[in-house]
């Protein structure tokens, strides 16, 4: 396999298999004030409620039927099926001597099933992790070394599987299993600094015992978590997370989150705030979140403070089109300026009909004073 193929394979691996989240900019811009109005999950993401399916066609896309298979089949109330298919193409330049690369690849293939009985439900998602595992064993440095390939089973993933008790749309709920602990804005892009560097990267959903309360204009979630030992968590930590969100006015949402994680050789304490402001006349939604982190290492040497931030407006010129720009920063050690990352993002999403999305995005990163990276990404998305 040529070096060029290896690079494409690695790039694809990094961006492959995005999570089955919704987009947090639908909150307020569609008239819905809480993620759980449209999603089965109490903090959003994943399967849509019947209300959410209607919203898909009525307020998000330029028409269409948002229900399962476009309404061709009516599912019984106790059974729900969903899923996501994404195909993508990208160009990526990280400063390699052989220049920018181009790749076309399957990004996401997930199927979700929900079975409900009264207040109880079981939700499970099964998917295929990006097609590219072809970072084949590399023994070019030392051919005598023993290297094994990943098994075929490692391609099958389950981002979420949990049991939930939720008697009403509002009020108390509890759930146990694997899912992303509610935290911050919950951006869909797992490469966003506020996700990647705060414990919410791709496939870093933890095993949780959690619960919360959904009020009329506020919600609170608390989670005790343990890392998933099987599906590739980078950080192997145990701990807790909590999030509170309040609709301060009809157009303003504010929230706060915290997370504490203890791993074998370091401890991370992090907390932050987030908010959304919808200017209806201008069709502009401002989203922002800022988090501070205290990371302490075994032995106390190198302990550091970190800062992760995301901010940017989303513009909704007409129904079916969302476009935005964003600024991100991640200071991995506030004492050392030369290791801070900045990113400028721009994107546009077009929903021609319910279930269908075309998204084009671009990102320029400034990594310290010297390094740069540029990414262009096209996604074709079908939500079952």
């Amino acid at each position: 396999m040529s070096g060029r193929c290896y690079l494409i394979a690695f790039v694809v691996l990094v961006v492959a298999t995005g999570r089955a989240d919704a987009y947090p900019h639908f909150q307020l811009t569609t008239g819905s004030s809480q993620c759980s109005q449209c999603h089965v999950g109490p903090a959003g993401g994943g399967l849509l409620t019947p209300w959410g399916q209607d919203e898909f066609g009525d307020t998000i896309a330029s028409g269409g039927d948002g229900s399962f298979l476009h309404g061709a089949i009516t599912m019984p109330k106790w059974l729900q099926i969903g899923g996501n298919i994404r195909l993508a193409a990208l160009t990526n330049d990280v400063g390699s001597s052989d220049g920018a690369e181009i790749a076309v690849f399957p990004m996401q293939l997930d199927l979700t099933l929900r079975v409900a009985s009264g207040a109880w439900s079981v939700v499970g998602t099964v998917g295929v992790r990006g097609r590219v595992r072809s970072g084949a064993p590399d023994t070019m440095n030392n051919p005598a070394s023993e290297v094994s390939s990943p098994s075929l089973a490692s391609y099958v993933i389950s981002r979420e599987h949990y049991v939930m008790w939720r008697p009403e749309q509002t009020g108390a709920y509890a759930r146990a299993g694997r899912y992303a602990a509610p935290y911050g804005l919950r951006l869909a892009d797992h490469t966003a600094y506020v996700r990647r560097y705060l414990g919410f990267n791709l496939l870093e959903e933890t095993y949780n015992l959690g619960g919360g309360w959904i009020g009329e204009d506020w919600e609170v979630h608390a989670t005790a978590f343990a890392y998933d030992p099987l599906q590739g968590a980078a950080r192997k930590d145990f701990g807790g997370a909590a999030m509170f969100e309040k609709q301060a006015t009809a157009k303003l949402i504010v929230g706060a989150s915290g997370r504490a994680g203890i791993a074998s050789n370091n401890t991370r304490l992090q907390a932050g705030v987030h908010g959304k402001l919808w200017l209806e006349d201008a069709k502009l939604l401002f989203q922002t979140e800022v988090h501070g982190v205290r990371e302490m290492f075994e032995g106390g040497e190198g302990n550091r403070w970190q800062l992760a931030a995301y901010s940017g407006p989303v513009f909704v010129p007409i129904q079916g089109i969302y476009t935005g720009v964003g600024y991100q920063a991640f200071a991995q050690d506030l004492k050392v300026r030369s290791v801070t990352r900045h990113s400028g993002d721009a994107w546009i999403s077009y929903f021609p009909r319910a279930h269908f999305e075309v998204m084009l995005s671009a990102r320029a990163q400034w990594v310290g004073p010297a390094e740069r990276a540029y990414l262009g990404l096209l996604q074709l998305h079908y939500a079952l």
């Binding site: 690079l7 790039v11 990280v94 970072g135 023994t139 440095n141 496939l203 590739g232 310290g368």
Partner: protein, 117 residues
């Protein structure tokens, strides 16, 4: 006034310019602070993906593999790992965004010091 001071502190904090080499060039620190968040992510060098047959999520296993496969040759700053991080004559790692130059320098210092575990 108090709010203004807090805001000023918030803006200035990321501009602090401590010496990057003040950070410990030890494997324990490098693994937790640089390797895990940038290289051991689920679809790359994790237990699940093992891209290129390399697992970097576990500090002991990562150390053993980097040395056994000559990605790191203790004392040799021209080790393969350095050219991978720099993208010189090889595909650059990490593939989505390079490490800050100061982190690459920290890796070099560790290798030069004999890559102690």
């Amino acid at each position: 006034m108090r709010l203004q001071s807090l805001l000023l502190a918030f803006i200035l904090l990321p501009s602090c310019t401590g010496d990057p080499e003040d950070r410990p060039a030890t494997w324990s620190y490098l693994h937790a602070a640089v390797i895990v968040p940038n290289c051991a992510t689920s679809s790359c060098h994790s237990a699940l993906a093992e891209t290129a047959g390399l697992r970097l999520d576990d500090p002991d296993l990562a150390y053993d593999q980097l040395l056994a496969r000559d990605f790191v040759v203790p004392g040799d700053p021209s080790s393969t790992l350095m050219s991978l991080l720099a993208g010189d004559e090889r595909r650059r790692m990490p593939p989505d965004a390079p490490l800050p130059a100061a982190d690459i320098e920290l890796v070099r210092l560790w290798i030069e010091a004999g890559a102690p575990e």
